[in-house]
């Protein structure tokens, strides 16, 4: 029987790979050490597949058609879209069979994700993969959630979708690592760019450490917005917690990095 052997929630600030020299070296070192620890854990787990719950930033979808959820069913995925994040272009293998089961089971649960055979991976996916699986060789199921253009899927719906993903993994043979990408507080490109709401970040991390996933799933749009426009990506963490269930999180690092304009977190959910 398949299982989630590891689950991790991490930030994806593009400057982490694009401009690390702009940030204080102690903060960069803290984040790199935490990512390095998670990379070692993932290596030791020998996962068959990585299911990545991520946001994208106009890499695939535009205002003419923006899905709430999109499951990548391709044989492979190309990334990164951006030259300026300084990650080498790569083709990552997919797991179309698991991806299809995730979609089928979601539909049986009353959730209809969009599907794509060809998702371009931007920094929302590539920055975590760069740090966690730098060989880029673990078959990937990318699941893109709308965290960009309102109206966005409800946190409670994200949690339900996560629960369905968890059931799909359980009935399959694979050992799966799940990663949620995004956050924490940030206002990318806005007039509040550079602000970090450390109190909001601290509250979210305490809720995660307590294992109270359902509290996050009940967050309102207003509560999420207190963490900035980029805090909409908390939806990805909520989906992951739906899959794992209410497990306690270990916070390996939290750094409010002004130069990255993001409250950056690296966490592991108990599995």
């Amino acid at each position: 029987m398949g299982q989630i052997v590891g689950a991790f929630g991490v930030s994806h600030a593009p400057a982490m790979t694009g401009r690390p020299e702009a940030a204080p070296s102690d903060q960069v070192a803290s984040l790199r050490a935490a990512f390095g620890e998670l990379q070692a854990r993932i290596d030791a787990l020998h996962p068959d597949t990585l299911v990545l719950i991520a946001a994208e930033h106009w890499a695939n979808f535009f205002l003419d058609n923006y899905p709430a959820f999109c499951v990548g069913m391709g044989d492979s995925f190309d990334g990164p879209m951006e030259e300026w994040i300084r990650i080498d272009k790569v083709k990552i293998p997919g797991n179309p069979s698991l991806a299809r089961d995730i979609v089928e089971d979601a539909m049986d649960s009353g959730i209809e994700p969009a599907i794509s055979q060809s998702l371009r991976l931007d920094h929302g996916s590539m920055v975590p993969l760069h740090f966690l699986t730098p060989r880029m060789d673990v078959p990937l199921v990318p699941i893109i959630q709308n965290c960009l253009q309102p109206p966005m899927p409800r946190p409670s719906r994200c949690y339900e979708f996560g629960q369905s993903i968890g059931r799909s993994i359980a009935r399959r043979p694979e050992r799966v690592v799940m990663v949620a990408s995004g956050g924490l507080s940030h206002w990318p490109g806005h007039q509040r760019h550079g602000e970090i709401n450390t109190a909001w970040d601290d509250r979210v991390l305490r809720i995660l450490a307590d294992g109270d996933a359902e509290q996050l799933s009940r967050y309102s749009d207003a509560e999420i917005a207190e963490g900035g426009t980029g805090a909409a990506e908390l939806r990805n963490w909520i989906t992951l917690l739906g899959a794992t269930g209410p497990r306690k999180a270990e916070v390996l690092a939290y750094e409010p990095v002004t130069a990255f304009a993001t409250g950056c977190a690296v966490t592991a959910i108990a599995c």
Binding site: H57, F62, M81, Q149, P151, P188, G189, H190, Q191, G194
Partner: protein
């Protein structure tokens, strides 16, 4: 449709190197064919991020344009902070 068309050009600019090359060669010609007001044409041709921000263009379309133009981040932030708050576009 002009807010939509303005966003659509930015989406293509950020995705297609040939659009970026055409814009670099002649921005006025590069934006022909899009339904834009004279004000939008001017802001886009001059990559006036403050003006585009005020037109309620999604900031991440603007950030990607600025990165693709190698505009220093501090310069982008200064440009949008010089602008008044965005005027919400219709259609959400």
């Amino acid at each position: 449709m002009s807010h939509y068309d303005l966003s659509r050009f930015l989406f293509k600019f950020n995705h297609d190197p040939s659009v970026r090359a055409a814009y670099a060669a002649d921005p006025i010609t590069a934006i022909e064919g899009y339904e834009l007001t004279p004000e939008e044409q001017d802001a886009l041709a001059r990559h006036d991020f403050g003006a585009l921000y005020r037109m309620d263009i999604h900031p991440l379309l603007l950030v990607y344009m600025s990165n693709n133009l190698a505009v220093p981040p501090d310069q982008y932030v200064a440009a949008i902070n010089d602008a008044p708050a965005p005027v919400p576009a219709s259609g959400g």
